[in-house]
């Protein structure tokens, strides 16, 4: 039993599973939300005996369209009459009222359908009774393309800062400064990264990454962090499997402890909070807790058999064997430890 639970978590907590599940979930949820009838709960007091007007207004982001549906009410009987669309250029209605159903506690559910995407407002006799979001598969496609573009732009934005700080780092290395700082921080580094030799260039990058991220200089922290990863990769005997020091480095970067939550302070100031700085203490405590947890777990969990390098290697070689049997892959060229580049050859290494 315990083994299956372990195996399940091992399967669940990989990028492959999480990423795949996110996309699969998004698709099915979108289809469900597009095709299932929508319900808006209304008080029975919102309706009056005789003719009623139900307006469904949909803002698609580009334009606002609305559909007005007359509904005739006789006691508990509702008769939906043919709707008319406001300012419609095509004959298609953006939404259609299906029925009005009595529910528990004097509530009436207005059931309607729409295949549009955007924000909707429902009004009964001009009084708003509900609003929410609509989504369809077009919106899902748009989101995929949109975010792909955003990723590119973000990456491109990183290039300039990366060139700047990596260049600076190289000068510091050549001048011996990075090695000097590394020697200063030796005791701390030795505890957190016992696998890294204290004179290794990785130490300098790790320290710079830590310092800049604690100071809240995210733009500078990422290049140093990536530099540190690159250096750690040169020490890593298995080029496709994360090494222990890498996971520790990731630990504080995912926890993101900063002495000052700069961006949040800006938001609070802009919103006009009476005490903008009140959040500093709590953020620091929470950030510290998160960082300590991340580093502790990074060190401790690595000792579990399910997260060991051997387990990852076994999985990797299993996959490689599958690949090899399906297609004749070329002989893997193992790149050696001295190389800092993680080139494509090293990724093929078993």
């Amino acid at each position: 039993m315990k083994r299956y639970v372990g195996a399940f978590f091992q399967w669940l907590l990989t990028m492959n599973t999480v990423w795949g599940l996110m996309i699969v979930t998004s698709f099915f949820l979108t289809v469900y939300r597009q095709y299932s009838p929508k319900e808006v709960m209304t008080d029975s007091s919102a309706w009056r005996e005789g003719p009623n007007r139900v307006t469904i207004r949909i803002n698609t982001g580009k334009e606002t369209r609305e559909v007005v549906t007359p509904i005739h009410c006789h006691g508990r009987n509702f008769q939906v009459e043919s709707a008319r669309s406001d300012g419609a250029t095509t004959g298609e209605l953006v939404a259609r009222v299906l029925r009005v159903e009595p529910r528990l506690g004097e509530k009436l559910a207005l059931v309607w359908q729409s295949h549009e995407a955007g924000e909707f407002t429902v009004l009964v006799n001009e009084a708003p009774v509900g609003k929410g979001k609509l989504v369809n598969l077009y919106a899902l496609t748009d989101a995929a393309l949109d975010y792909a573009k955003k990723a590119f732009e973000l990456g491109l934005g990183l290039v300039s800062t990366m060139v700047l700080f990596l260049g600076l780092m190289k000068v510091g290395e050549d001048a011996g400064l990075v090695q000097f700082v590394a020697r200063l921080m030796r005791p701390a580094i030795k505890r957190l990264f016992p696998e890294v030799p204290p004179e290794h260039p990785a130490v300098g990058a790790i320290i710079m990454n830590f310092t800049t991220s604690v100071l809240g200089l995210g733009n500078a922290a990422t290049p140093f962090g990536l530099k540190a990863m690159n250096e750690l990769q040169s020490l890593n005997p298995h080029k496709t499997v994360a090494s222990n020091p890498m996971v520790v480095l990731l630990g504080w970067n995912t926890a993101g402890f900063a002495i000052i939550p700069t961006s949040m302070l800006a938001v609070r100031k802009a919103a006009g909070c009476s005490d903008v700085f009140q959040i500093i203490g709590p953020c620091m405590v929470a950030g510290l807790a998160s960082t300590i947890t991340a580093i502790t777990l990074a060190r401790l969990l690595g000792k579990l058999p399910m997260f060991s390098v051997e387990a990852a290697l076994a999985e990797e070689s299993g996959e490689a064997a599958e690949e090899a049997s399906s297609q004749h892959s070329e002989d893997p060229q193992a790149s050696q430890g001295g190389e800092t580049e993680a080139d494509t050859n090293s990724q093929e290494k078993e």
């Binding site: 949820l29 990723a151 990183l158 990731l250 995912t254 709590p282 947890t293």
Partner: protein, 181 residues
């Protein structure tokens, strides 16, 4: 007190990068390093890193984008509501907490909405602290491991997500302890 602390820290942050620049270049020149050539050699790596992380960035962003648009977070928030009441988190803050490991700008947007609507409310206070307590785990994992071609991330995801959860829980607890005092 807090204000003074922020002033001091902001000054430190402001000086860090320029001092780093000046210090490194000056020391380099004193030690007869060819600073310009060194800088250019080091900087060259920057673009390679971009090319290496791009597929990872796109993959992660696309999944997050689709996930957000599909409304999965709203559904998840609805399910988790009883749990949230138990830990004392205002229900409005839950989407911020759920979004936090996925997307920095996304969770920032959700938190700002709450803060703008009711700047001096407890909800806004908790939302700020939840946002400030941790960083975007998925993005960091994708970029950092992507840049060196690591495919087996071992326990990095567990450590990151548990740390996020701890950060958020502590943020809520501390908010309760500090609020109104």
């Amino acid at each position: 007190m807090a204000e003074l602390f922020v002033k001091v820290m902001q000054t430190v942050s402001m000086f860090t990068v320029p001092v780093l620049f000046l210090g490194i270049i000056l020391l380099g020149m004193l030690r007869r390093v060819r600073v310009y050539e060194s800088f250019v050699t080091g900087g060259k790596e920057g673009f390679d890193i971009f090319l290496r992380i791009l597929p990872y960035l796109v993959a992660v962003f696309v999944a997050i984008g689709m996930f957000r648009v599909s409304g999965a977070l709203e559904v998840l928030s609805e399910w988790l509501k009883p749990l949230v009441a138990a830990i004392g988190m205002p229900p409005e803050v839950l989407p911020v907490a759920l979004m936090r490991p996925l997307s920095g700008s996304g969770s920032m947007g959700l938190a700002s909405e709450i803060i703008k609507a009711k700047p001096n409310s407890f909800e806004a206070f908790v939302a700020s602290n939840v946002f400030g307590s941790t960083d975007t785990t998925f993005y960091v994992i994708a970029v950092y491991f992507g840049s060196v071609g690591i495919r087996k991330i071992r326990h990095a995801m567990v450590a990151g997500l548990v740390a996020d959860a701890v950060g958020i829980l502590v943020a809520v607890a501390v908010s309760h302890a500090v609020w109104g005092k």
